[in-house]
């Protein structure tokens, strides 16, 4: 119904008695149990369903359009990522669209901080010419491409395949590649949690209050209301930990020791689901042997969690089985924070298996996928040369070749090792703020023969570029199908709410334009509509009908029942033989974090705040005023010893760099760690609101690559803190 303005009469027929109250003037739209309506006096906004793009959660939203202007955005209650709700960043999407500092037309850099407006034709022609020259001199592999994968990611991949370069990278190895790899080699898929029906939820570093996936936060709080117990294991009292029943401030990087000790209790006391374990797991006897000496007392010495706490939560957790789970996503200790993150993730997935919670109501599910058609992209010739970061062979042979190890890119560029990478295209990503060791990263970016940035805002990476190509925002473009990752099969469409305000293009058109300019137009003879049409073909819908509906959903409950595990054994691989190929222990054994602070230093932790998405929203007028900068969380006792008072400026140093930032002296953090939210400290003057505010946490992070799993282990960074005055 959404998307069409329907007549008042029809609305009354559709909604019965409630509508008599609801439909006093103007038009109202009902979706599920929620009624949406505009408020402007005398104006009836058109309501259009679309998909949010303020972060990569892809929540279904409803845009209120007044003539040719966007008035506001609300959550779409017919979409399972938003469930009718909208987070603060989602609401602030209006201010992205109308940001006066947005990139408005193609730019060519003609000096330091000096830019010239050029036409799209000139931009494509000049970039195409340079790419052809670089390809001729150094081979196709000398072009790298970095992107934050979007709905239109197939365009990025198609370009690199057509160009003949293997060097495409995503952000995932600085985010959650350890977790993804663990899921693939343990379960064969990435699970989600059915919070709403759960009775016991263990959140290891998971922070719904600040990362905000609106449907998950709702379900979590609904479960709390129904009596579920929520336990947060986190070195920091996050806003989510603040609403848990219990906060366990674990020593950072030691989560696997706690998980192994919980399994020790659960196996010793026979609290596991023996039937599920026998039917659906492989390697249980190895696990029994592994955890035999991983007692709660052993773990207490490592984790700072008292043995009796471990025993109690292990028993309580098992009591709730199978409606319980260790939250299996997203970042946290099994993202890419530590060199042991991979095995920590494996342990968490295995603990859930001991509870028999896979496919159980209130347990852990593998999201059911809708059955969609396939679009056959024009075939490209095979790529003969290996990746510059080594992914695909040796110790990195298990990693995804469309992801790569982006944190290695700066040293590859600077050292021309194993071969020169002289050109880089960056799409919807900001390596200058998102990668470890900003100093080195920015030096590498500045040394390139060609840097092209595709973005909506003049980021810290954009200011280093030779060409900046402005992308239309998510409110001005059509994107390929958004497939949901929750409990029911579901798809949604992101469609233009308003015509582009400036001389911008969707990334799909930009990429196709670049391809044509380098003589690869034959590989891009298709449109976004063609791809959508092919994918929704089995549903018997036209693209227009899909646009009117906004969301197409299947039955809830498709996620229940033990899923098929696409692993070598066809079961949950507790013992994962293939890991031996890359010299990883096939069992999730304890391994201490790589570095450990002493009494004079701290471990650096990073994370999100609710009002910002990484480094992309700091210039948003509403969000900027509410959260202009970040501060360094430091434990009260440690701060007192260093003579640091709340709000005072401190200098933070690591082997990679240093920053000066305000201190937030708090009881809510483990004494061995400090915390700095990422994404701040912008150096791009063109972002007038965010310029110079806060500190860039990645200036401190030491660049690393974990053997085997490839994660950047960003929290394996030691810092010292002192008063800056």
């Amino acid at each position: 119904m959404i998307g069409k303005t329907i007549s008042r009469r029809k609305f009354l027929v559709a909604c019965g008695a409630t509508a008599a109250v609801a439909a006093v003037g103007g038009k109202l739209i009902r979706q599920g149990d929620v009624v949406h309506a505009g408020e402007l006096e005398g104006i009836t906004p058109k309501l259009v369903p679309t998909v949010c793009g303020m972060c990569d959660a892809n929540c279904g939203i409803i845009a209120y359009v007044n003539g040719d202007a966007l008035y506001k955005l609300e959550g779409n209650s017919g979409h399972s990522h938003s469930d009718g709700r909208i987070c603060p960043r989602g609401s602030a999407g209006v201010k992205l669209l109308y940001d006066p500092d947005r990139l408005r037309y193609p730019l060519k850099r003609v000096g330091t901080d000096r830019w010239e407006r050029i036409s799209w034709d000139q931009a494509f022609e000049e970039i195409g010419e340079k790419l052809k020259q670089i390809k001729e001199m150094h081979g196709p592999q000398s072009l790298a491409w970095v992107r934050h994968p979007e709905l239109a990611d197939e365009w990025d991949q198609q370009f690199m395949k057509a160009f003949g370069s293997p060097n495409i990278f995503s952000h995932l190895s600085v985010a959650q590649s350890a977790r993804q790899l663990a899921c693939r080699y343990t379960l064969g898929g990435e699970p989600i949690m059915d919070y709403r029906n759960s009775r016991y939820i263990l959140l290891f570093g998971r922070n719904h209050g600040e990362t905000i996936f609106t449907a998950d936060l709702q379900s979590l709080m609904a479960a709390k209301e129904k009596g579920a117990r929520i336990v947060s294991i986190d070195p920091r009292l996050s806003n989510t930990a603040a609403q848990a029943h219990e906060w366990i401030p674990i020593r950072p990087g030691t989560d696997n020791a706690l998980l192994l000790a919980m399994m020790n209790v659960i196996i010793r006391e026979k609290l596991y689901d023996a039937d599920f374990v026998a039917k659906f797991t492989d390697g249980f006897e190895d696990l029994r042997a592994l955890v035999a000496d991983k007692t709660p007392a052993w773990a207490a010495r490592i984790t700072d969690v008292p043995a009796e706490t471990t025993i109690r939560i292990a028993r309580e957790f098992a009591e709730a089985k199978p409606a319980c789970g260790v939250d299996p996503g997203h970042h946290g200790p099994w993202g890419d924070l530590y060199t042991n993150s991979f095995q920590t993730a494996r342990s968490a997935l295995i603990l859930n298996a001991l509870m028999g919670s896979y496919g159980a109501k209130g347990g852990v599910a593998l999201p059911p996928r809708p059955k969609l058609g396939k679009f056959n992209f024009p075939a490209t010739p095979p790529i003969k040369i290996g990746r510059a970061d080594g992914v695909g062979e040796g110790e990195f042979s298990l990693l995804d070749q469309t992801v790569g190890l982006v944190q290695r890119l700066p040293e590859i560029i600077l050292n021309e090792n194993p071969y020169p990478v002289r050109a880089l295209v960056v799409n919807r990503f900001n390596p200058a703020r998102a990668l470890p060791d900003s100093k080195k990263t920015m030096a590498a970016l500045a040394s390139l023969d060609l840097l092209v940035v595709i973005d909506t805002m003049p980021s810290d990476t954009a200011i280093l570029a030779h060409y900046v190509l402005p992308e239309s925002t998510y409110l001005e473009r059509l994107d390929p199908v958004a497939v949901s990752m929750r409990l029911r099969p579901e798809i949604a469409i992101r469609q233009p709410i308003v015509a582009p305000l400036h001389d911008t293009k969707p990334a799909t058109e930009i990429i196709a334009g670049l391809a044509k300019a380098v003589g690869l137009g034959e590989f891009f003879k298709f449109s976004v509509e063609d791809v959508i049409r092919a994918r929704i073909q089995p549903l018997g819908l036209t693209v227009e009908q899909f646009g009117q509906k906004g969301v197409i959903r299947g039955d809830e409950g498709a996620a229940y029942g033990v899923p098929r595990f696409e692993t070598p054994s066809g079961k949950i691989d507790i013992y994962a033989e293939r890991l031996k190929e890359v010299w990883i222990d096939p069992m999730p054994n304890w391994q201490p974090p790589l570095v450990e602070p002493d009494g004079r230093s701290f471990r650096l932790l990073q994370g999100r705040v609710s009002l910002h998405t990484n480094s992309s929203t700091q210039n948003n007028a509403w969000l900027n005023r509410l959260k202009p900068d970040n501060d360094l969380w430091i434990n009260t006792v440690r701060a007192a010893r260093l003579g640091i008072a709340n709000g005072q400026k401190v200098r933070v140093r690591s082997e990679a760099g240093e920053v000066v930032v305000k201190a937030k002296v708090t009881e809510g953090i483990h004494p061995s760690a400090v915390f700095l939210a990422y994404g701040f400290g912008h150096e791009a003057k063109m972002q007038r609101l965010s310029f110079g505010k806060g500190a860039n946490s990645n200036a401190l992070v030491v660049g690393r690559t974990t053997p085997g799993s490839g994660g950047a282990a960003t929290s394996e960074t030691i810092v010292t803190v002192e008063r800056a005055t």
Partner: protein
């Protein structure tokens, strides 16, 4: 006649400020103009620490001090309980801003008049929930008619025994907060 109010379940609030932003979007507010604010307070010593959130906006009081001090009756209370400012007759004296014990009146320098939560009056009269209620990703907010004993909000008040902010001042606030033990 209805008497509108909110129950805000602070045992669900994670302080994300979705309410603040939804209000800014709904009312097209200036950056920094905050009609629904979120405060937090940390208590205890490591490792036994808690953080509590408190949201504050116009309480649409039964006896609104802002309306009592308003020299031109620009601030007025509607029959459904909603307290509004009529910008056409406001003279910008700021009496309401200093009088409100909840600091819920927000001065707008450009317009020269005060603003504050309107309980989305034009939405709720059409049966649409206030923007902050519909946005909250924790579903912590419930809007309804406090005079109707069968309304969800009235039943919540009976069941969860929420508190109000400084009812001892005699303002008769209509925002109810569930604070729970944890």
């Amino acid at each position: 006649m209805a008497k509108y109010g909110l129950v805000i379940d602070l045992t669900k609030c994670v302080g994300c400020q979705a309410c603040t932003l939804a209000c800014q979007a709904q009312n097209e507010l200036e950056p920094g103009e905050v009609w629904v604010r979120v405060e937090s307070v940390e208590e205890g010593r490591f490792p036994t620490v808690s953080r509590r959130f408190q949201t504050v906006q116009c309480n649409h009081c039964d006896n609104p001090p802002c309306a009592q001090v308003c020299p031109t009756k620009a601030t007025h209370k509607r029959r459904d309980g909603i307290v509004l400012v009529d910008n056409n007759i406001c003279i910008g004296c700021k009496y309401c801003v200093v009088t409100c014990p909840y600091q819920a009146r927000v001065w707008n320098e450009d317009r020269g008049t005060p603003g504050g939560c309107k309980l989305c009056a034009t939405r709720v009269t059409r049966g649409v929930q206030p923007a902050c209620v519909l946005a909250c990703p924790a579903k912590a907010r419930t809007f309804g008619d406090l005079d109707d004993p069968d309304s969800e909000i009235s039943r919540l008040i009976v069941r969860k025994r929420p508190i109000r902010l400084r009812p001892d001042l005699g303002t008769g606030p209509n925002m109810y907060y569930v604070r729970g033990e944890k």
